[in-house]
């Protein structure tokens, strides 16, 4: 399935890959270390639709030939896929459980979290990191989070999640040390939901 990429249509990635990926990484690191805290990824690239700039920034910062990537159907074809292949050189996989990273462009394309790789008992770090695009990181119904990285609790209200998303997150967390780690992205913003996060009722 080697298909040539029309380079004249591939949009640029980071202007300064070294420094841009460093500043984006530091924001992602803070977001994963402080679950529920919203960060802005700057500078984010003008990634092709349906990838939002934050999803594009995560891809340019973390993906390369070592990371098998699963893409949801809307990203799997066309300009977004070519952009990821060209800039990141990442292998694309069809099986959700074979992926190190998974990009989901919208809620109705999201497989259940349990479809992804939960890691190995001895190597739980081999689990999938799921990048889930939502309509907005604010304006939805509130959820209270607790766990490592959170002093007391933190309230977030992302909008445009899969229907039973928080039940799935709770189930994912209950299986610790197994579990996927989730990055919610919208526009240039990102919220980290690592497997340690607990949902407060």
């Amino acid at each position: 399935m080697t298909v040539g990429i029309d380079l004249s249509k591939v949009r640029p990635g980071f202007q300064d890959p070294v420094h841009n990926s460093q500043s984006v990484f530091r924001a992602i690191m803070e977001a994963v270390a402080r679950p529920g805290m919203q960060v802005t990824l700057s500078p984010a690239p003008t990634s092709p639709a349906p990838l939002c700039p934050a999803a594009g920034a995560v891809a340019l910062t973390l993906l390369d030939f070592e990371t098998p990537v699963w893409l949801s159907p809307a990203i799997r074809e066309g300009e977004a896929r070519d952009w990821l292949r060209f800039h990141c050189g990442c292998p694309l996989v069809d099986e959700t459980e074979a992926s190190a990273f998974a990009f989901i462009s919208r809620a109705d394309e999201a497989p259940p979290l349990s479809a992804f790789n939960p890691g190995d008992a001895k190597y739980p770090d081999r689990s999938t990191t799921v990048i889930l695009q939502v309509l907005s990181l604010e304006g939805g119904s509130s959820v209270r989070l607790a766990g490592p990285g959170i002093k007391g609790e933190r309230i977030i209200a992302p909008r445009g999640l899969p229907a039973d998303f928080w039940d799935q997150v709770a189930e994912n967390g209950a299986a610790f040390q197994f579990g996927v780690d989730i990055l919610l992205v919208a526009e240039e913003g990102l919220i980290g939901l690592p497997r340690t996060v607990r949902i407060q009722s």
Partner: protein
């Protein structure tokens, strides 16, 4: 050090920004994120050959290189001191390869790389403390095989560690470990705090900063997000306690800091002095003084003359 950062691809730079190539940084960054998501778990990483030998902080240097940017302010300490050979060399290294401002001031730093101490001054949000770790595996002294210790962590099989502490008590009447005292993270993963004195263990619990641990030779990264529960192992009838001294710091008079014993001459004279050089210096500048204030070792702080 305040000059604008030259473009990373400048020919005369010789090395990539922050020494490591971009693919290595990505690999380390991915390991850091997984380590933060599984607090206390030792994530393997592809440790690179560095321009210093193993044992000189290659794990910490690689972590710092993967996270540092031109806007950072970098501090590096060795046993609490900013002015020791290892600390000075590593600080110069990053000033050169990463164009960062450096400082000795704990509160000014955004990245603090450390060998075997946690600064006395409380850390704050936005700071990252990078530990240099010689042996990341807390169980290694009890079980030599990595295949076994990895299984012990996987299945939370920590009975051997408790037996070891019990044997300590039966032999010495107390838990004798003073540095690298094992800790339990979120009641799940047993972790080595690196060879910090157990005096520093309580500082890890509920810390405001991100704590990253790097072992270059052993090729492991582990991490603690802020506000993580860190418990030093103990028994109900033998509770954990930190070191204390009858002496105060001879130079600044501090009663609550970690003290180093310094032998002064062949006659057996000695002094106890803060191991955290910046903490001690700030106290002396603020007018505090200890029983040996004015000693020639006091000259290490600007403006202090004996």
């Amino acid at each position: 050090m305040t000059e604008a950062s030259p473009p990373a691809n400048l020919a005369e730079r010789y090395y990539n920004y922050a020494y490591l190539d971009e693919q290595t940084k990505r690999m380390i960054r991915r390991a850091i994120l997984k380590a933060l998501a599984i607090p206390g778990y030792q994530a393997p990483f592809g440790s690179r050959e560095m321009p210093v030998p193993y044992g000189w902080g290659t794990g910490g240097i690689q972590l710092t290189a993967a996270i540092i940017g031109p806007d950072d302010v970098y501090k590096c300490i060795d046993q609490g001191a900013d002015d020791t050979t290892n600390a000075v060399s590593i600080r110069k290294f990053f000033a050169k390869v990463a164009d960062v401002a450096t400082t000795e001031d704990t509160s000014d730093a955004t990245i603090i790389q450390t060998r075997h101490r946690i600064p006395e001054q409380s850390l704050k949000a936005g700071q990252v403390l990078v530990f240099q770790v010689p042996q990341p595996e807390p169980l290694r002294g009890l079980e030599a095989r990595e295949t076994e210790t990895r299984a012990m962590h996987a299945y939370e099989e920590y009975g051997l560690q408790y037996v070891s502490l019990y044997e300590n008590i039966s032999a010495y009447g107390r838990i004798a470990a003073t540095a690298g005292y094992p800790v339990m993270i979120e009641e799940r993963y047993l972790m080595s705090p690196s060879p910090i004195p157990k005096f520093d263990n309580p500082k890890m619990d509920d810390n405001e900063a991100i704590l990253l641990f790097g072992a270059g030779r052993e090729k492991r990264i582990y991490a603690l997000p802020p506000h993580t529960r860190v418990r030093s192992l103990d028994f109900e009838d033998y509770p954990f306690e930190v070191q204390s001294w009858e002496e105060n710091c001879a130079l600044c008079g501090a009663e609550d800091s970690y003290l180093d014993e310094v032998v002064l001459d062949d006659a057996g004279n000695k002094m106890f002095v803060c191991s955290d050089s910046h903490f001690c210096g700030e106290r002396r500048k603020a007018g505090h003084s200890g029983p040996m204030a004015g000693h020639q070792l006091d000259q290490t702080v600007e403006g202090n003359t004996p």
